[in-house]
C-alpha cells in the first residue's frame, strides 16, 4: 500500500487528547533543541508547532486506521468507525464486494376521467412519498383492446367510479431503499395527462436498496466464511445468501449472455428454532411428551417489511339476505404462500384505494398435497405462515345485487388484497431440494410471526424549523423494520433515530405511544401498547416468542405531530 492510499481523517475528526499529547511531545523536543524559543503563543506556536502536531496526528490516525481496517477483529468490534474504502480493501481479500445501492421499481396506476388515448413520455416524472421516479419507456394508453399490440401499449379500463385507469412502470431516479414505496401511495406527476384524476402506486415497489453498510458487509463476510451446509446458524444463512442461479440465454448474434442472480442475498433476518427450543412443536409429534429432534423451523424476514399482494380469485355465492350475498373463495397454498392477513376484498373494477369488503370468516388449513418429500406438518396451526398454508374465506359483498343470483351456483371474480412476506415458497422449495435437504432433518420455512406496529409521537421543535414529516416517518419505519428477532421494540431506539435525523432542531419528543398487533399463528390477536417498550409475549406453546416474532411497519403507520416551541432567550 502506498502512503497516498491511506485514508486521512479531517483535522476536525482527530482525537483532541491525542493531538494534545503529540503537541506536548513536539513542544518538549523543540524546547530541548532551543530553550529560548517561546512556544506558548506566537509565530512558532501558531505557524509551526500547531500545524506540525495536526499533520502528525493526522498521519498517525491514518496509519492506525489502515492497520485496524486490515484486522477483521477490529472491524467487527467497531464497524461504524472504519472508513468504507478501507473495509472494501480488506474484504476484497475475501473476494467480497460491497453491494451497491439499487434502483426501486414498480407500477403506477393513472386514473383519468375520459376514454381518450393518452401518451406518457419516457422519463416522465412521478413523485411518490418524496421519491422521484421516471417512466422506463413511452407508454400509450389505448381505448380498446384491439389497439393494444405493442409491449408499451396499455388498455384504459373502466373503474367502479366510472373513471378510466391504466398503468405504467417507473424506476427510481436515485438508488436507495427509500424507493420501495408502498402500494396505494399517492403518485404526483410532474406533467398531468389530459383528464387526470389521480395516480398511485399500484404495487409495492421493490428492488431498491441502500449501499451495503460496513456492518452488513462484515456480516456477509462472516456468513461467507462459514461452511455452506445445514449445520449452525451462520452456515445456514450462508447457504441461502450465496445461492446463485446461473441463467444463460442465446443472443441473436450467436453469442450467449450469462446472468447470475442471488434470490436470497437480500435476506434481512432469520431465526432458527430447533431441537430443545420451546417454540419447536413439530418434534413433539409422538405419544410421549418429549422432543425427538430432527425438526427445524426457520423463521425468516426476507424483506424489511411485509408486501401487499393483490390476487384475483373466483368466489361462489353461499348465502344471501335480501340483496346482500355472502361469498366464499379459496386461497390455495400457491396463491400467496405464507400470507399474514387479508386486508380487504375488492371488486375487480375497484382501484387500490377502495375500501372493499372485510373478511367475515377465515379458516386456515394445510395443504400437504404433492409428491416427493414433505415436511412433517401435523396440525393446521403448524402450517400457518408457511408455503403449505391454505384458507377458505367468506365475506359479504354489499355492492353486488344478489337478489337474482342462485346460491351455490352464482360465481364472481374478486381481488383479494393480502399482506405477505415474499419468497416463503421459494425458500421452502430451496431447502426441500433433495440435493440440499439434510438427510436427518426436516426443515419448515416460516414467515416471521408478524407484529404490525404503529407509532404516535409529538416532536417539540424550535420554532421556525421545517420538519419533513415524510422523511421522519420513513426514518422511524426504517429503524423498526431494521430490527432482527429482538423480542422487544424500545421507544429509546426511535427517540435516538429522531434526534439523529433532526439534530438540534428537535428539542424533545413527547407522548410516544407504541402499538403492536401481533397475529398469533392460531389466528388470535395480541394487542401490545407501551410508551417505553413493546415486548413480545413469551408464549412458546403458541409459537410466539422473541425468536419467532418480527416487528413490521410502514411509513403511514408512523403518526407525527409537530409542535413549534419558543426557546427562552433565542
Amino acid at each position: 500500500m502506498a502512503l497516498t492510499e491511506l485514508i486521512y481523517p479531517t483535522f476536525a475528526q482527530l482525537d483532541a487528547d491525542r493531538l494534545a499529547a503529540l503537541k506536548e511531545l513536539l513542544l518538549t523536543v523543540l524546547q530541548t533543541y532551543q530553550p529560548d524559543i517561546d512556544l506558548r503563543r506566537g509565530t512558532i506556536h501558531d505557524l509551526v508547532l500547531h500545524p506540525r502536531a495536526l499533520l502528525t496526528a493526522q498521519n498517525e490516525q491514518a496509519v492506525l486506521d489502515a492497520l485496524n481496517s486490515g484486522s477483521l477483529s477490529e472491524l467487527i468490534a467497531d464497524p461504524a468507525s472504519a472508513a468504507p474504502a478501507a473495509v472494501d480493501r480488506t474484504l476484497g481479500n475475501y473476494r467480497l464486494q460491497r453491494r451497491a445501492a439499487t434502483l426501486a421499481t414498480g407500477v403506477v396506476a393513472i386514473v383519468v376521467d375520459r376514454l381518450t388515448p393518452v401518451i406518457v413520455a419516457s422519463g416522465s416524472v412521478f413523485t411518490i412519498s418524496g421519491v422521484e421516479f421516471v417512466t422506463d419507456r413511452v407508454y400509450a394508453a389505448r381505448t380498446d383492446e384491439s389497439s393494444v399490440v405493442a409491449a408499451n401499449d396499455r388498455l384504459l379500463t373502466l373503474t367502479s367510479s366510472n373513471d378510466y385507469l391504466f398503468t405504467v412502470t417507473v424506476v427510481a431516479r436515485v438508488a436507495a431503499a427509500a424507493g420501495n414505496v408502498r402500494r396505494g401511495a399517492t403518485a404526483t406527476p410532474a406533467n398531468e395527462p389530459l383528464g387526470f384524476v389521480r395516480a398511485y402506486a399500484d404495487t409495492d415497489f421493490s428492488g431498491g436498496a441502500d449501499a451495503e453498510t460496513n456492518a452488513e458487509l462484515l456480516a456477509r463476510q462472516q456468513a461467507g466464511l462459514a461452511v455452506r451446509a445445514w449445520s449452525n446458524r451462520p452456515a445456514i444463512e450462508a447457504v441461502m445468501r450465496d445461492y446463485t442461479i446461473t441463467t444463460t440465454t442465446d443472443n441473436t448474434d450467436g453469442t450467449t449472455t450469462t446472468t447470475l442472480t442471488q434470490p436470497f442475498a437480500g435476506l434481512k433476518a432469520m431465526s432458527l428454532v430447533g431441537m430443545g427450543d420451546a417454540e419447536q412443536l413439530r418434534d413433539k409429534h409422538t405419544l410421549w411428551p418429549i422432543a425427538t429432534g430432527s425438526r427445524a423451523d426457520l423463521y425468516v424476514r426476507t424483506e424489511a417489511t411485509y408486501q401487499t399482494l393483490r390476487v384475483r380469485k373466483t368466489a361462489t355465492l353461499v348465502t344471501k339476505v335480501g340483496a346482500v350475498g355472502t361469498w366464499q373463495l379459496g386461497l390455495a397454498r400457491a396463491d400467496a404462500p405464507g400470507y399474514y392477513e387479508i386486508t380487504k376484498i375488492l371488486l375487480t373494477t375497484d382501484d387500490q384505494e377502495a375500501s372493499g369488503f372485510a373478511v367475515a370468516v377465515e379458516t386456515r388449513s394445510r395443504d400437504m398435497s404433492g409428491s416427493g418429500w414433505l415436511p412433517d406438518v401435523a396440525a393446521d396451526v403448524e402450517s400457518v405462515y408457511t408455503r403449505y398454508q391454505a384458507a377458505t374465506v367468506q365475506f359479504a359483498d354489499t355492492t353486488t345485487n344478489a337478489t337474482g343470483l342462485t346460491v351455490g351456483v352464482a360465481q364472481q371474480d374478486y381481488d383479494v388484497v393480502l399482506r405477505i412476506m415474499p419468497l416463503i415458497a421459494d425458500l421452502q422449495d430451496f431447502w426441500t431440494d433433495v440435493n440440499r435437504r439434510p438427510p436427518a432433518g426436516d426443515i419448515l420455512i416460516k414467515a416471521a410471526v408478524p407484529c404490525f406496529v404503529s407509532v404516535a409521537v409529538t416532536l417539540n421543535v424550535r420554532r421556525g424549523t421545517t420538519v419533513d414529516t415524510a422523511a421522519v416517518q420513513a426514518a422511524v419505519a426504517v429503524a423498526i423494520n431494521a430490527l432482527s428477532f429482538t423480542g422487544s421494540l424500545p421507544a429509546s431506539l426511535l427517540n435516538q433515530t429522531l434526534h439523529n435525523l433532526l439534530g438540534a432542531a428537535l428539542l424533545s419528543t413527547a407522548g410516544m405511544t407504541l402499538n403492536g398487533r401481533l397475529l398469533r399463528p392460531d389466528g388470535t390477536t395480541a394487542s401490545l401498547t407501551s410508551a417505553t417498550v413493546l415486548t413480545v409475549p413469551d408464549e412458546p406453546d403458541n409459537m410466539v416468542t422473541g425468536k419467532t416474532v418480527a416487528f413490521l411497519t410502514e411509513d403511514a403507520a408512523v403518526g407525527i405531530t409537530v409542535v413549534p416551541v419558543d426557546m427562552p432567550g433565542a
Binding site: F11, A12, L14, A16, L19, D36, I37, D38, R40, R41, G42, T43, I44, D46, L47, H50, L54
Partner: protein
C-alpha cells in the same frame, strides 16, 4: 528571556510600535527574532487577526476578522464594537498562557483602544498595551478592508 520569530516588519519609536504588513521571508527582514514587549505585541496582533476557528482543534484567534467580513459593518461605531469585544477576548487568551516565571515586562496588565480611524477602504487602529511592570506600549496597526 525567550524569543519568537518576528512575523511583521516593525517601526519602533519610543514606547510605540508600528506594525507594517506581514513578512516572514524577504531580503531585508527574514529570520529576525523579537523578544520582550514586541513579542507580546506580536502575539496580540496575530491572535487578533487570526479567524476564530481557522486553526483546527484550537480556540486560538478572535472573531474580529470574522465579523468584519460578514457584511454588517457600516459605521465606525460598528467597527469599534466588534474590535472592543475581540480585544477583550485576545487579552484574556494571552493572559491565560502567562506563567509566574514570565518577566513583569512581558505580562499583560490591560489593553485599551486609543484610536480608530476609518478612511476609504482602510482603518488605522491604535491600541495601548499596559504591562505588569507599569510600562505602556502603543501599537499601531493598519487594516485594509472595504466598508459597505
Amino acid at each position: 528571556m525567550s524569543v519568537d520569530v518576528a512575523i511583521f516588519r516593525v517601526e519602533r519609536r519610543q514606547n510605540q510600535l508600528a506594525f507594517a504588513p506581514q513578512v516572514l521571508a524577504d531580503a531585508q527582514d527574514s529570520g529576525r527574532t523579537c523578544t520582550g514587549q514586541e513579542k507580546v505585541a506580536q502575539r496580540f496582533v496575530l491572535q487578533l487577526y487570526t479567524r476564530l476557528g481557522s486553526l483546527p482543534q484550537t480556540t486560538d484567534g478572535s472573531d474580529f476578522v470574522v465579523r468584519l467580513t460578514q457584511g454588517k459593518v457600516t459605521t465606525e461605531t460598528d467597527v469599534f464594537v466588534i474590535l472592543a469585544s475581540a480585544v477583550s477576548d485576545v487579552g484574556n487568551k494571552l493572559k491565560a498562557v502567562e506563567t509566574d516565571t514570565d518577566p513583569a515586562a512581558e505580562k499583560l496588565a490591560g489593553v485599551r483602544i486609543m484610536q480608530l480611524t476609518l478612511a476609504a477602504g482602510a482603518a488605522d487602529l491604535r491600541l495601548e498595551l499596559r504591562f505588569a511592570d507599569g510600562t505602556v506600549l502603543a501599537v499601531l496597526i493598519p487594516l485594509n478592508f472595504v466598508l459597505a
